[in-house]
Amino acid sequence: MRALISISAVTLLLAACGSQPPAPEQNPAGVESRTPGAIKVDTAPVIQTKPDTFDPTSIAALKDPRSPLSKRSIYFDYDSYVVKGEFQALLTAHAKFLAANPKMKMLIQGNADERGSREYNLALGQKRAEAVKKALALLGAREEQLESVSLGEEKPLCTEATEECWGQNRRGDMLYSGEF
């Protein structure tokens, strides 16, 4: 009886909400297709299969802490969208992986610290994501594998108002298919 009541309540609610799609609709004008809602971010511990070696172009390498591919973040200076030289090796490793796995796609999310305008920070995050994307493309990844978007200051990793914390939030993150 209890189950019955809650099922009918859910049905009623679904009917009430029926005209309101929970997911974005398709835009009539040539808009890319996305499937929001299917977010699977695997945070399970890495399973170490072979203790000694790993193939740097295999999918497993993405989560192997011994592989540079397990590192996914590029950090930026204040109000800057210049990729610093120290991240060149990391970007090269990801570009090689993308070139070796042409079916893999990457979403690059740019982030900004909290200071200043939300929309300007969104644009700044976009510039950072775009800079990462351009670097990867120059190093051999294909344009169609890459999408750069911005989360601006909206998804901070660190929420203290300190320089150290802001530095962590001025960031570009590289996410592979299945992670976004």
């Binding site: 809650s6 835009n27 939300r118 300007y120 510039k127």
Partner: protein, 426 residues
């Protein structure tokens, strides 16, 4: 019914998004922190007729006028019906320049009929005597209309007590896009999500809100019809989609897209069709806002090396730089009369609300806070609502365009941000 509410919450949590969620009861409270220098002394007498109704009406009318910072309320001494002649000599002695009386009567159809008479005390002349037919549920709305009438008669400008505001409340793991009356009452959630919601913008007719939601793990621009609760995607191109601004005729939206590289300005029809670029630079162009006459779009750009405000004619051509002082001037908001521009300026590490006279380019800093964002003009141009931070918590504040009247609007135990003041109700 409580079970139903619970189910709704479960459903909301399950999808991480709810377009018809119950309103959490966290009302905005408005606190006056500064008032105008020359406040007009006005007496709002107790209305006659049904006591509970008349008391509810007069208390809201008084609170509205008081909150505006333009009036000083004078005790009228005794109740006053709309049909009675005010005791002008006594009111003059009390210091009142104007007096309003009224009466509430039950109409034949079960509704109330409230009649008001506003009089000039020194001249002993009637300034107006409107009547309002309303239900019990429309008490607050009627009181706001009465306050608007009194405000307009005494200041010559339209009142904004009947308008609504939109804002975003962030509580733990939850973002709500809320709509409330301008006094913070009657708040309702138009959208609740686990992901951020930013940049709400009212359509000129007040029926729709455009905003940016991150529910698809990236910024997408939606247009949300408030009466039906239905919404559609206005911009979801490859990359980020943000910063919607309505054209004055409500037919188009200026948006920021990154489909061709970095953040650039485009105009789309409100249904999302007909995208076209309106300005271009190799850097960042964002935060577009139409001038009220529709001739220009003001925006923020770093094309000159630091973020500054520019404007471009909607008919095309080169962009002109508007701000020159300082190294960070963002978020341009033209006033409703088009004569001034509110924006956020960085001064020695503090982000403050500034107002520029567009003819003389004279700029005044209106606040003494440090983290001001998202200014939004009241539709009569008198007040500017903005987001700021007090004690590490996001609050809304409002300041008059002369910097004298100040208000703070806050919600207990939550961050409030991204305010947008709705248009005049006709």
């Amino acid at each position: 019914m409580p079970a139903m509410k619970f189910q709704r919450l479960v459903l909301a949590c399950a999808t991480g998004l709810a377009l018809c969620s119950p309103a959490a009861h966290a009302q905005l409270t408005v606190e006056i922190t500064g008032a105008g220098a020359n406040r007009l002394p006005v007496a709002i007498a107790d209305f006659t007729g049904e006591r509970i109704v008349s008391q509810a009406l007069t208390s809201v009318v008084r609170a509205d006028l008081e909150r505006s910072g333009l009036f000083r309320l004078i005790d009228a001494g005794s109740p006053l019906a709309d049909s009675a002649t005010p005791a002008f000599e006594d009111l003059k002695a009390r210091g009142a320049d104007a007096v309003a009386g009224g009466s509430v009567a039950m109409a034949a159809d079960g509704r109330y009929e409230t009649r008001i008479r506003l009089s000039d005390v020194p001249r002993q002349a009637v300034l107006g005597n409107p009547a309002y037919l309303h239900t019990g549920a429309q008490l607050r709305a009627t009181a706001h209309r009465i306050a608007d009438f009194i405000y307009e008669k005494l200041t010559g400008e339209p009142g904004v007590f009947s308008t609504r505001i939109a804002y975003v409340v962030k509580s733990t793991g939850r973002f709500e896009l809320k709509i409330a009356d301008a006094d913070g009452s009657n708040d309702q959630a138009a959208l609740a999500s686990r992901e951020p919601i930013i940049s709400p913008a009212w359509s000129p007719d007040g029926g729709k809100l455009a905003y940016v939601s991150f529910e698809a793990k990236k910024p997408v621009v939606y247009v949300h019809d408030l009466a039906s609760g239905r919404r559609h995607v206005a911009a979801n191109f490859k990359g980020s989609n943000s910063a919607p601004a309505w054209s004055p005729d409500g037919k188009q939206l200026a948006v920021v897209l990154t489909k061709d590289g970095s953040s650039q300005l485009y105009v789309v029809n409100a249904d999302g069709s007909g995208v076209k670029r309106v300005a271009s630079s190799s850097g960042i162009d964002t935060e577009p806002r139409w001038s009220p006459d529709g001739q220009f779009i003001y925006f923020t750009s770093d094309r000159g090396g630091s973020p500054q405000i520019y404007r471009v004619a909607t008919s095309g051509g080169n962009a002109d730089r508007v701000t020159f002082e300082g190294s960070y001037n963002v978020t341009p908001r033209p006033s409703p009369d088009g004569k001034s521009l509110a924006f956020i300026a960085r001064n020695g590490g503090r982000f403050q609300l500034a107002l520029m006279d567009l003819a003389t380019k004279q700029t005044q800093i209106l606040t003494d806070s440090a983290k001001d964002e998202s200014p939004s003009f009241a539709p009569n141009g008198r007040m500017i609502l903005y987001a700021t931070e007090i004690g590490g918590r996001g609050v809304l504040a409002a300041v008059s365009s002369d910097g004298r009247v100040k208000q703070k609007l806050s919600v207990q135990a939550a961050d409030v941000r991204e305010p947008a003041w709705g248009p005049l109700v006709r």
